[in-house]
Structure formats: C-alpha cells, structure tokens
Symmetry: C2
Subunit: 308 residues, 2 copies
C-alpha cells in the first residue's frame, strides 16, 4: 500500500506542481490503483510513473472544482484506447455524472469497459470484504467530501506447527480451526480453534480530504488514521485568506492531525505562491504543531506499512 502524489498544486497548474490527483496503490492488496481526484493532465503525470491506467479500479472525486476533475474525461478515454477492459467506477458529488456524460457523448468517446458513475452522499460509499470507504462533507463553499479508507482487519494465520505437534494432519478440518470453531479430532480430543490462530492483523486507515476550511468533519474522518492527507493551501499568516477562500493553512491541517490522533500527516494542494524553498515554511509551521508531517511534491510516494 502506497500513496503516490500525481499533482500537489492548487487552482491552476504550475511548472512545479500540477493540479490535484493522488493515487492509492493497492497492488499487493488487490492488484489495483485507486485515484483520488483527477485534475487536468493527470494522465500525463501517470505517463511518468509505473501506474497502469487499466489497473485503475475506482476514482473518488472530493469536489467538482475544475482543478480536481478536468483530467477525468481524457483519462477515461485513454484507459480504453490503451486496452483497459475491466470495469471502473467513479464516485463523486452530484454533478459528476452530467459532467462525464456530456464530455463522453459530445466527444464521441467509446469506452470498451463498463463505466459506472455513482453520485455520493455522506456515509459508506464503497465496501467489500477487504475495504470500506466512508465519506463526510467538509467546509468548502461547494460540496466537498473527505474520504476515510478503512482496511478491514485480517484474521490471524493458522498455527500449523502447533497443530502438527498435536498430530492433526492438514485437511478440511484446518478450515474449521482457522475460523476459530471448536472441533473434535479423529482421536476424540476436542480443541478450541481460537487457540490455534495467531492474532488478527490490524487493517490500516488512510484519510484523504478534499479542499476545506478547518472543520470537525475532518477530525472525525481522521480519527486514529495511519495517514492523513490534508490540504495546506496557505501559510499561517494568510489564515484570513484561507478562510475567505474556504481553504486551510498548514497549521490548521496539523491541528486536525493532533485532535484526530492521526499517526502521520501529509500536506498537499499548495498554492503557487509558495514555490521552491518557500513551501518549506508550510512544513515548518505544521511540524511545530504535529511533528510527523511531510510535504508532498509531485511524484512523492509514501509507503503505508502494516501495523505491528
């Protein structure tokens, strides 16, 4: 599991930072890539990475500002052109369907795969046996969502050596024991499966927020998260500007991380006024409040290790 930042700028593309897109690489977990937002030229950024568009399974859109969605029609078309045939689902606020349907139909784009577009509301927007994604509305003037990606706990591994020591040979009974059931062995002995299974592996929690002012919903979404990705459009001295434009300062992002008890904070969506060394100011300000903070650049990647 790895976060790969494809665009870390705000509003308009600049030479140093493209507009927003973040890839969550789930190659080990499901041989898939999930995207969060898809600003213009996200497919161009992908050309410079190992991401394969055909592997993109889900795209979650935080909000409909152009710097977060104008790369979608092109990426969807190119995925088909390059042979992508597996289904893809786009999750986003109301309006995302009209945008995609119009772009696709006007341009006569023919997709060779199944595209599903789901207009979301607050709640669980995705769930299967391994992951759930929970959405909540933030505070950005237009509907803007944050996403809490929850990896479910994995059951512990079967303690095979311990079973063999008791003389239990591999067979269908291993399945029963792994599920923690109480079973009777061939020799009449009764054992409690739970004693032959290691501890469950805790799932990871990644929180990726759309553009927002400082708000309580951010803290709820980021509770105990392994990684919190938060916008930091402005430095602390521009907190009035941040408020007026429905954005956050780096310090506010750090305060969310503290209050949520998150383990790591990654700052992104950096205004082009902070170029080169100037962006370090944001990092310093945030670290004063929450030491384990990183500043994302385009093509930064952050592995997310499993909890021990």
């Amino acid at each position: 599991m790895e976060l790969l930042f494809l665009g870390t700028g705000a509003g308009v593309p600049a030479k140093e930072r493209n507009v927003t897109a973040i890839a969550l690489q789930l190659l080990e977990e499901r041989r898939a890539t999930w995207l969060f937002d898809c600003g213009e030229a996200t497919q161009h950024q992908i050309l410079r990475t190992s991401i394969r568009p055909r592997r993109i399974e889900n795209i979650f859109i935080t909000h409909l500002h152009g710097d977060h969605i104008f790369g979608l029609p092109g990426l969807l078309g190119s995925r088909s052109f390059q042979g992508g045939e597996t289904p893809l689902t786009v999750y986003g606020p109301k309006g995302i369907r009209a945008f995609l349907e119009t772009a696709i139909s006007v341009s006569s784009t023919r997709l060779k795969y199944d595209l599903q577009v789901i207009e979301i509301e607050e709640g669980t927007v995705f769930e299967d046996e391994r992951f759930a994604v929970i959405a909540k509305q933030l505070d950005h003037g237009i509907p803007s969502y944050g996403f809490r990606i929850v990896e479910k706990d994995l059951p512990g591994t079967l303690l095979v050596d311990k079973l063999k020591a008791l003389g239990v040979r591999p067979g269908p009974i291993y399945q029963e024991i792994k599920l923690g059931k109480t079973v009777q062995l061939e020799n009449g002995m009764v054992i409690d499966g739970r004693e032959f299974v290691g501890p469950p592996q805790k799932g990871r929690i990644i929180t990726i927020l759309g553009d927002t002012r400082y708000c309580e919903a951010s803290i709820e979404l980021a509770k105990e998260a392994d990684v919190l990705v938060h916008e930091a459009t402005f430095a602390a001295e521009e907190s009035d500007l941040a408020h007026d434009y429905f954005h956050s300062t780096a310090v506010q992002a750090a305060e969310v991380a503290v209050r949520a008890g998150a383990k790591k904070l990654i700052l992104t969506h950096i205004s082009s006024r902070y170029q080169g060394m100037l962006s370090e100011q944001l990092l310093v300000e945030a670290r004063n409040v929450f030491p384990n903070t990183q500043l994302a650049a385009d093509f930064s990647s952050f592995p997310i290790a499993r909890k021990k």
Copy 2:
C-alpha cells in the same frame, strides 16, 4: 505572424507529443493569439512558451474528439484566474456549447471575462477589417472542419514624395488620393489617385485542417495557401488503416498540397507508433511528393513571412 505547435500527437498524449493544439501568433497584426484546437494539457504546454493566455482572442475547434477539446475548460478557467479580462470567442462544431456550459457550470468556474461560444457551419465564421476565416467540412466520420485564414490585402502606401514634387501639401486631400480617387488640386490640375499609391501588400493565407481523410474540401481550403497544416496520422503503408479510421497518410497530405498549389506544408497529428527517427519516414514520404514539407514537433514554430 507565426505558427507555434503546442501538441502534435494523435489520440492520446505521449511523452514526446501532446494531443493537438496550434497557436497562430498574430502579435504584430493584432497583439493577439488564436488557438486551433485545445487538447488536454494545452495550458500546461503554454506554460513553457511566451504565449499569454490573456492574449488569446479566438479559439477555433476543428472537431469534438477528446484529444482536440479536453483542454478547453481548464484553459478558459486559468485565463480568468490569471487576470484575463478581455472577451474570448470559441468557434466549434455543434456540441461545443453543451460541453463548455456543462464543464463550467458543474465546476462552478466563474469567468471574469466575456466568453462567447459560436457553433459553426460551413462558410465565413469570422471576419473583420484585417482577417476572414472560412470553414469547410472535411471527411472524419464526425463533423470536422478545416479553416482557411485569409489576411486581407493591405492598401499600398501613399507616395508622398511624388505628391510633394507636384506641390500637393498634406491635408484632407491626401486621404482622397490614398483611396485612389480622382481629385482636382487647388491649381485646377486633375490627378488620378491610383498613380500616387504604391502596390497593395498581399495578405497571407494559412490553412489549418482538422482530422480528415484525403478529400476535395481540403484542396479548396488550401488553394494557393502560404502554409497548409495537414494531419499525417499514418505512413503510406498504412493507408488502409488511415482510411478505416478517417485519417490521412503523409503522402495524402502532400498530394493535397500539390493539387492546391500551396507554398508550404506542415505535417502534424502524428500517431505515437512513429516515435523518434520513425517519424522521419513520414517526412521523407511527403517530400517525395511535395518538397517544401516540414514535420511539426511540440514547440516547433514557423514564421509566416509577408509576400514580396
């Protein structure tokens, strides 16, 4: 007057060539830039040139395939964000309005300038005292237009020395003479204005075609053009493929140039199958038919000199 190629690839962006956009720089003529097509990341390409988005006055769209229009919403938004306040007009086939209106409204983009969208048909789509743009439909499966940009002839300059030699002093009469009228001087002498005006400066003709098969409309649009910009998606050996996909080979582009009596041919819209040296093949093939051919690369520029 200069052509600056911003994207010279076909279908999908590649590292070497972005999708289609061409700038016609009219800085001396009207302190303006006109764009022809606007594929995704055209605004990113512009960042690497001296083009100022606020100077973009007209955008002509040849056809609605995604690789020719998906950069429009972002460019229009960024032009406003960067302080562009003068009006801008987009000309394109039916459907361009629905595309732009949906993208702009869904993304809550607020433009600080007047955007006019004109859905074109064949005929004169733009005209003022200096330029006219004539559109004709090509052969591309969906409506695809070619544009003939005609610079009007400039009237000759007044031969002031010759007038002064006759004793004619500057005054309102100079205007009459410049218009070629026959006038009576103060001393009773009658002169023919046309004898006191230099030869008119011939205007230039630039023909920029959308994607197309070889067709007669291309030849009409390119008649005697100073420069013909023609797609060359395929090499000669792939002429069946070119036909099936409604595209042209480099040789077909050259044949259009020959039959139209164009002075110069520039090839663009090159399939990504012809990378690096392979693209030279297209140039060689075209030059065998029409020697004055160039192959455009991203950021190639071609000045268009005034006729002597």
